[in-house]
């Protein structure tokens, strides 16, 4: 257990040294700038606009941070040989992969917590009328989207190079976010090819819009843990499958 915990801690620490809080600070600065401009314009749904900009920005920033960190932890470690030195100790590859992924998960959690701390200070200062619990939950759900993206990078990174891993994860994230839109679009036509029928079966499984809850905060369907649970469980299931596949490839492939 000790090496496992140490691997998690050191994976997290190595990401911390990547100046991980810089994107958050940049985004917080932009948020302050945008809100200042919007307050000058006198827009009525001021609070909603600020929240949705913050949510969208954090979502996208987090995805790109995950792509960079995830690929560094597995692909770069493979290409630079860091994995080789660590696995030459006869430490099980499965545990190494799981601990490294958990290190990424902790780093991403600290990313969202840091943003929420800045967010809390900012809304307290501005005295916005934002439904705070819903907003916090919506921000927190982004963590699961990032965990899926991280699992995708680990899956591709277990057998492919960095470029393939990042590109593959990026494409599948986009597909997961646009899945409901795409399936509603293809379902209306009369001509249903086999591909479309198969897609309609797969689409609900690869649909992460339930985790992107920025609209729910203002539409009136109040968010709650119970409402978010199916989406979270689906995310956990997807992560388990992806990490399971990553472990399989990482165990069977040569490291060189």
């Amino acid at each position: 257990m000790r090496p496992f915990l140490l691997l998690i801690a050191l994976s997290f620490r190595s990401l911390l040294r990547d100046k991980m809080f810089l994107p958050i600070l940049v985004w917080a600065g932009l948020l302050i700038l945008v809100t200042t401009i919007l307050s000058d314009l006198g827009i009525s749904d001021y609070g909603q606009v600020v929240f949705q900009i913050a949510h969208f920005g954090l979502h996208v920033t987090g995805v790109f941070v995950t792509l960079i960190w995830g690929s560094r932890l597995i692909c770069e470690a493979k290409s630079s040989g860091g994995v080789e030195a660590q696995l030459s100790t006869a430490y099980p590859r499965t545990l190494w992969l799981l601990a490294t992924y958990l290190g990424l998960a902790v780093a991403l959690l600290s990313f969202v917590v840091s943003f929420l701390a800045i967010w809390t200070v900012w809304i307290s200062y501005q005295k916005f009328t934002i439904p705070s619990f819903d907003a916090y939950l919506a921000f927190f759900l982004l963590w699961f989207i990032w965990l899926i993206v991280g699992a995708l990078v680990f899956f591709f990174g277990s057998f492919a190079r960095q470029g393939v891993a990042v590109f593959g994860a990026l494409c599948l994230w986009l597909l997961g976010m646009g899945s409901s839109f795409l399936s509603s679009g293809v379902g209306t036509g009369d001509d249903k090819s086999l591909v479309l029928i198969v897609w309609q079966k797969i689409a609900p499984l690869w649909n992460f819009s339930g985790l992107n809850a920025s609209n729910s905060v203002y539409v009136g369907d109040s968010l709650s843990f119970w409402l978010a649970t199916p989406a979270v469980l689906q995310a956990v299931g997807v992560i388990c499958v992806l990490i399971g596949l990553a472990v399989y490839f990482f165990e069977t492939k040569d490291i060189h």
Binding site: P3, L6, G81, T89, A90, Y91, T252
Partner: protein
């Protein structure tokens, strides 16, 4: 102590390329208190052999034994490895790399004092808080050296250990290897440097294009002229 029998490895064929075994039916025997020099040109199969031994690459054929029993993962914990290049976690410090390596091998934490002692032995104590990415090549080699030795392994596998070391470091590593062999450790030394191999090794084995092409016990049959070994190493037509 370590025996490799009929070891072979063919990497998956790339489209349009003819596959050639990286390692073809190689046998190797490393005994206690012996330094075996594994020589060969670039791409001869030395690193592939080491990686198979360490469990990083899956062999296509052959068997491996440790103390006459099949080589299992647990036994690999008795092998200390010094990789060829600066193949360490670049964003961690020297001390963190050492602690992580020790923990992965033994399952225990390495205390700060012991880590400092190990780093002092290789002249890196003052650089213990430096990240690996900020180290020079020679310092990286010294750290890899400390990591190979941290658990006092029975077998040392060293891939081009002298490359990048300054003259003082080379002398120190040379002396240290001699002491390890005297203490009964088995040393597998991969190198291009023939003179160094001759000064350190009890036996030499040469690989060419993945095949074993020459081996000699230098204790019972010393080479009269080092150039003789060089000729086996270089000239294809003189190889056995």
């Amino acid at each position: 102590m370590i025996e490799l029998k009929n070891l072979g490895k063919t990497y998956t064929k790339e489209v349009g390329k003819k596959s050639r075994p990286a390692l073809d039916a190689v046998n190797l025997l490393l005994k206690e208190g012996e330094c075996l020099g594994l020589l060969g040109h670039n791409g001869a199969g030395k690193t592939t052999l080491i990686r198979i031994l360490l469990g990083l690459v899956h062999p296509s054929q052959g068997k491996m034994f440790f103390d006459e029993k099949p080589l299992v993962r647990k036994a690999r914990q008795k092998i200390g490895y010094m990789p060829e290049n600066q193949q360490l976690a670049a964003r961690l410090t020297c001390e963190e790399n050492l602690k992580l390596h020790y923990s992965l091998i033994s399952g225990r934490y390495l205390s700060h004092d012991l880590a400092c002692k190990a780093l002092q032995e290789v002249g890196l104590l003052d650089h213990r808080k430096k990240k690996v990415s900020d180290l020079s090549k020679g310092m990286g080699r010294r750290l890899a050296w400390a990591m190979a030795n941290i658990s006092d392994p029975q077998i040392l596998v060293l891939d081009e250990p002298f490359s990048g070391l300054d003259p003082l470091g080379r002398i120190e590593l040379h002396r240290w290897l001699g002491e390890k062999v005297k203490a009964g450790k088995g040393v597998l030394l991969c190198t291009h440097e023939i003179k160094l191999a001759l000064s350190l090794c009890d036996r030499v084995q040469i690989l060419r294009l993945g095949k074993e092409c020459f081996q000699q016990d230098l204790r019972s049959k010393p080479l009269s002229d080092p150039a003789e070994l060089e000729s086996y190493f270089i000239h294809e037509d003189q190889a056995v």
